[in-house]
């Protein structure tokens, strides 16, 4: 997309029909929980939108978030929207390397001061800045430098949003989330490991349409996508209600598509759009593929017990500890009995005397 083109012109040049574009706008408005009357506004604003500058920083991450977004299901309107932003810096995708790449980032920051969107994936190590550097610049310094003049930050993936896997116990690098460092800019957490592609395009569409930050939940996630939990939207919910559960991954219950609660599904405590938006062109999502939700869009999901432990089981400790407590109870009981016996003897002796 040329810089002087607006999004509508660009999409038309790529062969996207008006009908297809409006269909996307309707879906986007619906995803963002906007009323049907807002579709026209979304379409008008998106068609006229100029490409915003986006600087994408990748820190302690696995590139899964980038893979998810760029290899989603092109060529769709969503991916064209994604192409339509001016991705001025993304060290996984850009051709430039080394100092040239850093110069591009600095130039984009200067040119779009106060207007560019900073996308971050990956957590930031703060115990020792040398654990993760890009062109000799620590993640911490690069984040602070790029954040100071941005319009808003989108933390893509659970690592950037909440610390994610690098921040899991024992957190050897002292990994933290973007929001632990930057406190004076609007931050939108698009969590997930990885996040759903359409959620990031939905957030960008919101920017392009309204020029504002979408409504966020208590964890800084757009409520349009993270407002409901997986369990409430799961197509297997009726089986939960009927008490029909898969006991193993290959039993009759699993083949019949029964509820995966007993196999550790964390759907009831997970807020994400997987069950509604789905993955792979809306083909399915993990539960549909036969695996329970692992709560990947929730903070510290790696440290919340085993993925295959049912939600209702807790970390009750060890049998030895319980036996120890029972043993201590028995000792106290015996001590109480001895004390009571001696008091009784004493009382009897006093009575006899």
């Amino acid at each position: 997309m040329r810089k002087d083109q607006n999004l509508g012109e660009y999409l038309r040049s790529q062969g996207v029909s008006r009908r297809g574009f409006l269909k996307f706008c309707s879906a986007t408005a619906s995803l963002m929980a906007l009323p049907p009357s807002a579709v026209a506004q979304v379409a008008e604003a998106l068609a006229a939108a100029r490409r915003p500058s986006v600087i994408w920083l990748s820190f302690q991450e696995c590139t899964g978030c980038t893979e998810s977004l760029t290899r989603s299901h092109s060529p769709t309107v969503e991916s064209l929207i994604f192409d339509a932003i001016s991705l001025d810096y993304h060290h996984t995708l850009q051709a430039a390397a080394g100092h040239g790449a850093e110069a591009a980032r600095e130039a984009a920051q200067e040119e779009n001061k106060g207007e560019y969107i900073l996308v971050v994936d990956g957590s930031i190590p703060v115990d020792n800045p040398a654990y993760s550097t890009i062109a000799g610049i620590s993640n911490l310094d690069m984040l602070k430098d790029s954040a100071k003049d941005c319009f808003a930050i989108v933390s893509v993936g659970t690592c950037a949003a909440f610390g994610g896997l690098p921040g899991a116990a024992p957190n050897p690098t002292g990994a933290v989330a973007v929001s632990d460092i930057i406190t004076d800019k609007p931050i939108i957490n698009v969590s997930g490991c990885p996040p759903i592609p359409v959620v990031i395009t939905g957030v960008l569409a919101h920017f392009l349409t309204f020029g504002t930050i979408p409504e966020l939940d208590a964890l800084g996630r757009p409520t349009a996508f993270f407002g409901q939990n997986i369990h409430d939207r799961c197509y297997r919910r009726p089986f939960y209600e009927r008490g029909e559960f898969a006991e193993t991954f290959d039993d009759e219950g699993a083949r019949k598509g029964w509820c995966l609660y007993k196999l550790g599904c964390k759907g009831p405590i997970t807020y994400n759009a997987c069950a509604t938006v789905k993955w792979n062109q809306g083909m399915g999502f993990p539960i549909q593929a036969g695996h329970g939700c692992i709560a990947c869009s929730e903070p510290r999901f790696w440290d919340k017990g085993g993925f295959y432990d049912a939600l209702s089981t807790g970390d009750w400790g060890t049998r030895e500890a319980l036996l120890g407590a029972a043993g201590a109870g028995a000792a106290l009981g015996v001590a109480s009995a001895i004390r009571a016996r001696s008091r009784k003897k004493k009382a009897m002796a006093e009575e006899e005397a």
């Binding site: 209600e241 510290r300 089981t313 009981g333 109480s336």
Partner: protein, 220 residues
Amino acid sequence: MENMTLLDFARGPGLQWALWIFCLGVVWRIVGAMYLLGNKDLSKARRTNYIRSGLRAILTRSTPAEAFEEKIRFQHISGYAWHLALFVSVLFFAPHILFFESILGFSWPHLPNTIILFSGAVATALLIALLIRRATHPVQRLISTADDYISIAVVLLPLITGLAAFAHIGLRYETMLALHLLSVELMLIWYPFSKLMHAFMTFPARYQTGTFFGHRGIKA
């Protein structure tokens, strides 16, 4: 402990401490009570079939005496219905069974959620009705202590939070689940030191009373 949520606490340290205190307290009370068995009855035994006497007392004391039947009918029936409803919702809800299985190492069949929801609602309604009766009935009020009211409250809380979590009423599910677990933990901590111990003590105590009556030749 860093960044620990309420649910993490309830599923981890909170649960551990509650179970330790519960085990310690229950064993303490049982061992202490067993000491009482050491008091020998020096009188001449009228009947020597102690097992029969003990079992007979368990049965006879499980139903009200004929003379009182009419006056305590509500209490009698609702008491049994409440315990039955409680057992069904606690012991036959699939997520509860998974919890017990993680500790005991074995499981048993569960019931559909609709039955659990019904029994949970019945148990909650009956316990509230029994609480109101206790607070308003002149005789019951006279013989009730703080232990009775606190014990009812700590049993009522898991029922209410459990139903709310199940039906997704009020707070977000994970918060409600955490509150449900914390209320269960509160009950476990209160349990050994209160009248809730009757769950462990009732039948052995009735049996013991029966053997005592048998020894003394009391018909009861």
